[in-house]
């Protein structure tokens, strides 16, 4: 079947099997490898991308279900070579170790901060409950999210 959708701002039209999962479409058809497949069972969040601005686990979405939508992956966050504030905060606060969970963590954070601009630490921890870090680097991840929120609110003043 033919699917038309927008990926990181670029309009695409591709012939896909109905059973093609969005994460496989992004990685194998679009060549975007940021979204990782960790558990493949909707648990770990490594495959998190934005669908019309909201976080979803792309291992549990059909490409066909994303037709007509805007998909954003970690590759689509930076603009003009500048890291997105959430990416910059993860780097500054050492919010990653091996980096496997990081694209998913970053995308989940972008979605979380869009819904709640000034989360408490507790709200950050609950807001990221769908993302697991196998290196268990949660403290720095939470610090990075809080730093990104603070940077955002300074920016919008």
């Amino acid at each position: 079947m033919r699917v038309e959708l927008t990926v990181n701002g670029e309009a695409r039209s591709d012939e896909v099997e109905p059973r093609l999962l969005l994460v496989h479409y992004l990685r194998e058809v679009c060549g975007l490898r940021a979204a990782n497949i960790g558990c493949d069972t909707t648990s770990c969040g490594a495959c998190t991308v934005l669908l019309d601005g909201e976080s979803v686990k792309s291992c549990t979405v059909l490409t066909a279900q994303a037709a007509g939508s805007q998909v954003t992956t970690a590759e689509g966050l930076a603009s003009n070579g500048d890291l997105h504030p959430v990416q910059a905060a993860f780097r500054a606060e050492h919010g990653l170790q091996c980096g496997f969970c990081t694209p998913g963590m970053v995308m989940a954070t972008v979605s979380l901060l869009a819904e709640n601009q000034n989360p408490t630490e507790q709200e950050v921890r609950e807001g990221l409950e769908g993302n697991l870090c196998r290196c268990t680097g949660y403290h720095n991840i939470v610090r990075a999210v809080l730093a990104a929120a603070a940077a955002n609110s300074e920016g919008t003043g």
Binding site: M1, E17, P18, R19, L21, H24, D40, T41, T42, S43, G45, T48, L51, E54, S55, V56, K57, T60, V61, L62, A64, Q65, A67, A108, S111, L112, E115, G127, E129, G130, N131
Partner: protein
């Protein structure tokens, strides 16, 4: 994991969805958020030949007030139920239950209708709608019928829905001032209840205490007879048949049901 092959149709109306279901019978499955169905298809526990996606059907999504009831369209997502000010004020138990389903990503996809139609006895929303005394609107080729939440869950993952019927709306009584309690016992984030209890308006609903979500009728009767919540909660596991799994054996589940019912009846959440 990759599902078996299927044809995908995005239905554009209720009538078209019903026609496809009638045409393909048990080879077809309704697709809503896909957050129960796709995991099952990936594990090849389900292999429908046709998926009828109803999320683009106009009029099936949204929350509105209709007299003494809130009407929630079947494809309304958990995130929208959880953040609705109407639900938070007039049926707060339901908003709370929706906010506890899985994690944010799951709540951005999963729908109230999908959760209820899936009928997992451990799920949050089936228990919540039983506690609230909701009514379900089912639409088939011959029109629409209403079924009480109490009568909807007929067996393990089985419901009153006929093969060629859709769950189209959930009608929840508006009770802004009614006290309520909600208890979900879990060991891990983003998990289903090992045992769950929802209580409001003299009704007590249990999750994961048998093949269907069910009411703790003995405890309800005790409460109605004027006993205090702790005495009533002692009867919460009467008549239940909880399963045994890696999380808990039946005795432990009965114990949890009693403890959690006491907490729910005293308004804890």
């Amino acid at each position: 994991m990759i599902p078996a092959q299927f044809d995908y149709v995005a239905a554009s109306s209720i009538a078209q969805a019903l026609e496809l279901l009638a045409e393909h019978g048990e080879d077809a499955k309704v697709l809503a958020g896909g957050h129960s169905l796709l995991p099952m298809m990936k594990l090849r526990l389900a292999a429908p030949e046709v998926l009828v996606d109803i999320t683009g059907v106009p009029g099936l999504r949204g929350i509105m007030q209709d007299g003494d009831e809130i009407v929630i369209g079947a494809t309304t997502r958990h995130a929208d139920v959880a953040s609705s000010s109407l639900i938070r004020s007039d049926a707060p138990l339901l908003g709370h239950a929706a906010s506890l389903v899985g994690d944010p990503q799951i709540r951005h996809r999963g729908t109230i209708g999908g959760s209820i139609a899936h009928a997992d006895p451990a799920a949050d929303l089936p228990m919540a709608i039983i506690a609230l005394g909701a009514r379900l609107e089912l639409t088939g080729p011959d029109g629409t019928r209403m079924v009480a939440a109490d009568d909807f869950f007929t067996g393990y993952f089985e419901t009153a829905l006929a093969e060629c019927e859709l769950l189209t709306a959930i009608r929840v009584p508006r009770r802004p001032d009614e006290p309520w309690g909600y208890q979900k016992f879990v060991r891990r984030a983003n998990d289903w209840a090992i045992v769950g209890v929802a209580a409001t308006g003299g009704r007590i609903a249990l999750a994961n205490m048998g093949p269907t979500p069910l009411r703790a009728t003995a405890a309800e009767k005790s409460l109605a007879a004027g006993n205090d919540p702790y005495q009533a909660a002692e009867l919460a596991a009467e008549g239940t048949s909880p399963a045994s799994d890696i999380h808990a054996d039946p005795d432990y589940r009965r114990h949890l049901a009693r403890v959690l019912t006491a907490r729910a009846l005293t308004g804890q959440r």
